[in-house]
């Protein structure tokens, strides 16, 4: 057996196996360490703090769970959210995340490690990313082998597409969901391969955990049935499939119905009907298979086939009828908008307004996946080459997830695991091919083609023996392989037995090409690592509660306006003072300032949000009764015009207008907020509706004064603000943070003399009331 480079001959197979397994364990440990470490940029650059918006609610709920226990948490009614409606928290959330942190918290306290609940919440996502790496390793091992598994684990450990949702402090449902996704898929594949009811049950248990943890569980609910359906259509039905699917579906569905937020949805909504339909189809197919194995008559088999098909059609029609009659709820808007992409913008502006629901441009794909984005199609092709049952899963997953990721930035998260798995299969095949030391023997078909290559061939490969006829070569190789398989004694024997499995001679000649390709691969991987590090540290580690900018000398400058303002609210306002803000900041106000809010990020009540939108987009006179009726004491707006913070309320303002217009089309109209030329302006050309709106007034109130007579400039919209700023009659400026990012206004109480606040203000400023026309006109009494 010729080899490209010398191999040690005195190693026993046991030593080789043991060393390989040790290396695997060490590699997995290192990958876990890298996965955790790369997610700690956020803690190192900033501090141990909860990020963004939704995590603040999760953190608040977890604190309730940790301090008051599970029972209290389960029955928690929060009167401060959605004032005055309140929110039944226990029944309207996915409790998996909080329960996980609660268990860890209690476990650590049971062994006398008094860890703060905040630190558990902050570090939960990095911890689970290590578990994700392990689950991906197991999953990929089923697809190819352990070396591909290690590559996949390394990829998912550091790929930015997953890091973006799991840095330290990003305490969101996705933090544990991707681990659950991968482990469920692994158990499903394992169950399918072995026909094991045990693994089917384990898959169902993890599926239950997933349902309890993330709304994206519907992805699993549809992926597994789709896989099963494709297997049936390809004629790959087997009793293994039947056992695996039935055990997963029956137990998983019953378990998922125990989550209060899910309830009876698995039998009532369209999202879950595919799983039920495939379950029914499997029963029919299994029954037909059983009967066919017992009868022999050809006619009877035909009858049976007709019967099965008609039962299937009847079942499908029953679904259609049930949906039509309304017993099965149609697709909910969120899911429907994945198929009909124009739907959300037209009918559910709240969903369309969320930035992570926007479609994905290609630079985002490349930023999040880098070279994996073009490696994974190669992996998919390699899956087609073998096309075992589990490879079909990867293929379907790749197509479905790449479509979803294109429609919504947020779903990049579901694409990332399959990209890592498929690219790992591809890259590991490349390395297998080029690292494998066996050289194929030069087949003598060149003699007839050209004499030159026959002469050069032995010259370039010193190890290659003199040409022999193909027939004897293969015979010899077979003999050697058979002998080696019986008594594998050396490393080269193991290699020989594995490489002669294929009929065609295959392999790489020479050493230079091997070194070149392997070096090339190492360079690519190194570039990938540096890219991931750069993206993670620069783009995905900002808590967004604390902003960073750099001083002229390059040092980091922390902008801490949000916490400054929330802390002011906490310290200076009565505990029951209702704060109105746009819904984005609801969870943060509840979490950091501990004050009641009108609307928050759990956008369940469109009308309530539209009410806030209407108040923000109307004039003071119109907004004041709304504010008073909702007991609003303070209004909080985000304004970035001074330091150029682009995520401020003026930039979100059009969505407030749109959502308000959806409920009150007569009173709020989007076109009136544009200039006659159709531009969105805040300068002198701004439309009257814009300049009179509460949002505009609150944002630019006293902004001009800052510039001391010079032209005031809005640095986000790059427009010059009018010289004369807006005036406020019904509100008082209460607090403005250091960089003007957060501005808080107090709503004035009604005038004690019964005047309207505008005239009271005018009186206080010493203005005379105009007497040019009578103020009240007598109405004719009918």
């Amino acid at each position: 057996m010729p080899t490209a480079y010398p191999l040690p001959t005195n190693l026993s197979p046991a030593t080789v196996a043991n060393t390989a397994s040790l290396i695997r364990i060490v590699a997995l440990a290192l990958i876990s360490g890298a996965a955790i470490a790369s997610r700690l940029f956020a803690v190192i650059n900033f501090e141990s703090i909860i990020h963004e918006f939704d995590p603040w609610f999760n953190y608040r709920a977890t604190r309730v769970l940790a301090s008051k226990g599970f029972y209290e948490f389960w029955n928690w009614f929060d009167p401060t959210a959605w004032y005055p409606l309140g929110r039944v928290v226990g029944g309207t959330l996915y409790p998996g995340l909080m329960a996980t942190s609660g268990v860890i918290y209690n476990l650590l306290h049971a062994i006398n490690l008094p860890v703060d609940i905040r630190n558990i919440c902050v570090l939960l996502a990095p911890g689970f990313s290590a578990l994700t790496a392990w689950a991906t390793y197991m999953f990929t091992k089923e697809m190819k082998d352990a070396s591909a598994g290690l590559l996949a684990a390394a990829f998912i450990g550091i790929v930015p597409g997953y890091i973006s949702r799991s840095v330290a402090g990003s305490y969101d449902n996705e933090a544990i969901a991707i681990f659950l996704l991968m482990i469920t898929f692994y158990c499903w594949i394992k169950a399918l391969k072995q026909g094991s009811a045990l693994f089917g049950t384990v898959a169902a248990v993890f599926y239950f955990y997933m349902v309890a943890a993330w709304g994206g569980y519907a992805f699993i609910t549809n992926m597994i049935p789709l896989h099963a359906l494709v297997l049936i259509l390809m004629g790959r039905f087997s009793s293994r499939l039947y056992v695996a699917y039935s055990s997963w579906y029956a137990i998983g569905t019953l378990a998922s119905m125990q989550v209060p937020f899910v309830g009876f949805q698995p039998v009532k909504t369209s999202e879950h009907m595919a799983a039920l339909g495939v379950f029914g189809l499997l029963q029919i197919v299994a029954f037909a298979q059983l009967v066919r194995s017992h009868v022999s008559s050809h006619q009877f088999q035909k009858l049976l086939a007709t019967g099965v098909i008609s039962i299937g059609i009847l079942g499908a029609m029953a679904f259609v009828l049930l949906t039509y009659k309304g017993w099965i709820a149609p697709w909910t808007g969120r899911f429907y908008s994945l198929w009909d992409t124009g739907y959300a913008k037209k009918y559910i502006p709240i969903i369309a307004s969320v930035s992570e629901h926007q479609p994905t441009a290609w630079p985002s794909f490349f930023m999040d996946l880098q070279f994996l984005v073009f490696l994974f199609p190669a992996g998919v092709i390699l899956c087609f080459r073998e096309l075992r049952d589990e490879h079909l899963f990867v293929i379907i997953y790749a197509v479905v997830a790449s479509y979803f990721a294109g429609v919504m930035v947020r779903l990049m998260l579901t694409l990332t695991p399959v990209v890592c798995v498929a690219s790992a299969v591809a890259l590991s095949t490349l390395l297998d091919t080029f690292v494998d030391p066996t050289e194929p023997e030069v087949v003598d078909d060149t003699r007839s083609e050209s004499g030159a290559s026959t002469i050069s061939a032995p010259g370039t490969n010193g190890a290659a023996p003199s040409p022999t006829t193909p027939a004897t070569t293969s015979k010899k190789a077979k003999k050697a392989a058979a002998a080696a398989a019986e008594h594998p004694t050396t490393l080269s024997d193991i290699l020989a037995s594995s490489s002669t499995k294929t009929a065609k001679p295959k392999g790489i000649y020479g050493l230079d090409t091997r070194i070149m390709v392997v070096l090339n691969t190492i360079c690519m991987l190194a570039f990938f690592v540096s890219h991931c590090t750069w993206v993670t540290s620069s783009a995905y580690s900002s808590p967004s509660v604390v902003l960073a900018s750099s001083n002229p000398d390059g040092s980091q400058h922390i902008i801490d306006d949000f916490r400054e303002a929330y802390y002011w609210l906490r310290q200076n306002t009565p505990e029951d003072a209702v704060v109105m803000s746009w819904w984005d900041y609801g969870y943060q106000i509840a979490g950091m300032a501990d004050r009641p809010t009108l609307v928050d990020n759990n956008t369940w009540n469109n009308t309530h949000i539209a009410t806030v939108g209407k108040a923000m987009s109307s004039s003071e006179e119109v907004a004041y009764p709304i504010l008073r009726k909702h007991d609003v004491s303070y209004i909080l707006v985000i304004f970035g015009g001074l330091i150029g913070y682009s995520g401020d309320d003026i930039n979100k303002f059009l969505w407030m207008v749109r959502i308000a217009q959806g409920v009150w089309p007569d009173e709020v109209q989007e076109p009136s907020f544009f200039t006659p030329q159709g531009e969105y302006k805040v300068d002198d050309n701004a439309s009257p509706a814009m300049r009179n709106s509460l949002m505009y007034k609150m944002s630019y109130y006293r902004f001009v004064d800052l510039f001391g007579g010079a032209q005031a400039m809005d640095r986000v919209r790059q427009q010059q603000v009018p010289k004369v700023g807006p005036t406020l009659d019904y509100l008082d400026e209460a607090f403005t943070s250091e960089n003007w990012i957060v501005r808080i206004y107090e709503v004035k109480k009604e005038d004690s003399l019964g005047r309207d606040l505008k005239s009271a203000n005018a009186f206080a400023q010493g203005k005379k009331r105009k007497r040019s026309k009578p103020t009240t006109r007598r109405r004719a009494i009918l």
């Binding site: 994905t360 985002s364 190669a378 080459r385 479509y403 080029f434 090409t513 109209q669 076109p671």
Partner: protein
């Protein structure tokens, strides 16, 4: 009579292409005469650029008006559709300060039982952001009429016919192309093509309606979260080339029986891979200026 008390006038201003000669027909003839290019003089320029050039809106408006004519008389007579052509009502145009056409105003009842609940009686302007189709127009006007306008999109028979013939044709050809459909490599090609096109931002251009190239002829859109249609094809092509050269190294090269030819292929495909990857990275840096 009830309707005399509550008069709802729906005033529709401009267009009406009922001139002596249909201007569209006129333009078609002119274009024919000039081999596809219209030679303009001062008169035909006015014709082409007059505020009447909203060719496509009038049918929608008439369709909605006709739909309203079918509702029961008691409701029908409480709400009216009307049009005003610029030629006949220049003073009205000036009074309302209108610069462009078409414009749709809804004048709610100012007195009587049909005054809107909000009490607003000032005219409302219809927002054309949903396009000039009859469906959205009827839907939004229905908010102001006593009963919803019973407008239904006309059935697009041509479309159903095309679909039906397509399905039939597919079934007929299925027998002949079944070996292609049953080949795993057909499916592999389709799968990979879909993945590549999707990861090149095709859905972004579909949903946002991005142009194929920019106004200034530049095919790379400025900004990280933005792209033009041509970028989809270029990026998908780059990805496809990279995938293919990678697959060559894995699936074709090892089966070569001649060492020299194999070596040549390995160097060739590795070279292609490195060069195209470099092009991709530099393209990414154009999009993301701060890239590493």
């Amino acid at each position: 009579m009830r309707y005399s008390k509550s008069l709802l006038a729906l005033l529709y201003l401009p267009i009406c292409l009922i001139a002596a000669q249909d201007p569209h027909q006129q333009l078609v003839e002119l274009a024919k005469a000039g081999n596809g290019v219209i030679k303009l003089d001062s008169k035909t320029f006015d014709l082409l650029t007059s505020p009447k050039r909203t060719w496509e809106f009038e049918p929608s408006w008439n369709a909605v008006g006709e739909a309203w004519a079918t509702v029961p008389k008691e409701h029908r007579d409480n709400h009216f559709f009307a049009t005003l052509d610029f030629d006949n009502g220049q003073t009205t145009f000036q009074k309302l300060g209108l610069q462009s056409a078409p414009v749709v105003y809804v004048y709610p009842a100012a007195q009587g039982p049909l005054v809107p609940a909000s009490g607003k009686v000032s005219p409302l302007k219809y927002d054309f952001s949903n396009g000039f189709d009859a469906g959205p127009l009827a839907e939004s006007l229905s908010k102001h009429t006593p009963i919803p306008i019973p407008y239904r999109d006309p059935i697009n028979w041509a479309r159903y016919f095309t679909i039906a013939t397509g399905v039939l044709g597919l079934l007929v050809t299925l027998r002949f192309i079944s070996p292609i459909i049953q080949s795993r490599w057909t499916w592999a090609l389709v799968t990979v093509a879909v993945s590549l096109v999707m990861t090149s931002g095709y859905m972004f251009t579909r949903i946002r309606g991005s142009p194929f190239i920019g106004n200034d002829g530049n095919w790379v859109a400025a900004g990280f979260q933005n792209q033009f249609g041509q970028e989809v094809s270029v990026v998908a092509g780059i990805y496809g080339l990279l995938t293919m050269s990678f697959l060559m190294l894995v699936m074709v090269v090892p089966y070569q029986t001649s060492p020299a030819r194999q070596r040549l292929q390995i160097y060739l495909w590795s070279g292609v891979f490195v060069i195209v990857y470099s092009v991709l990275v530099s393209l990414f840096r154009v999009k993301n200026r701060g890239a590493s």
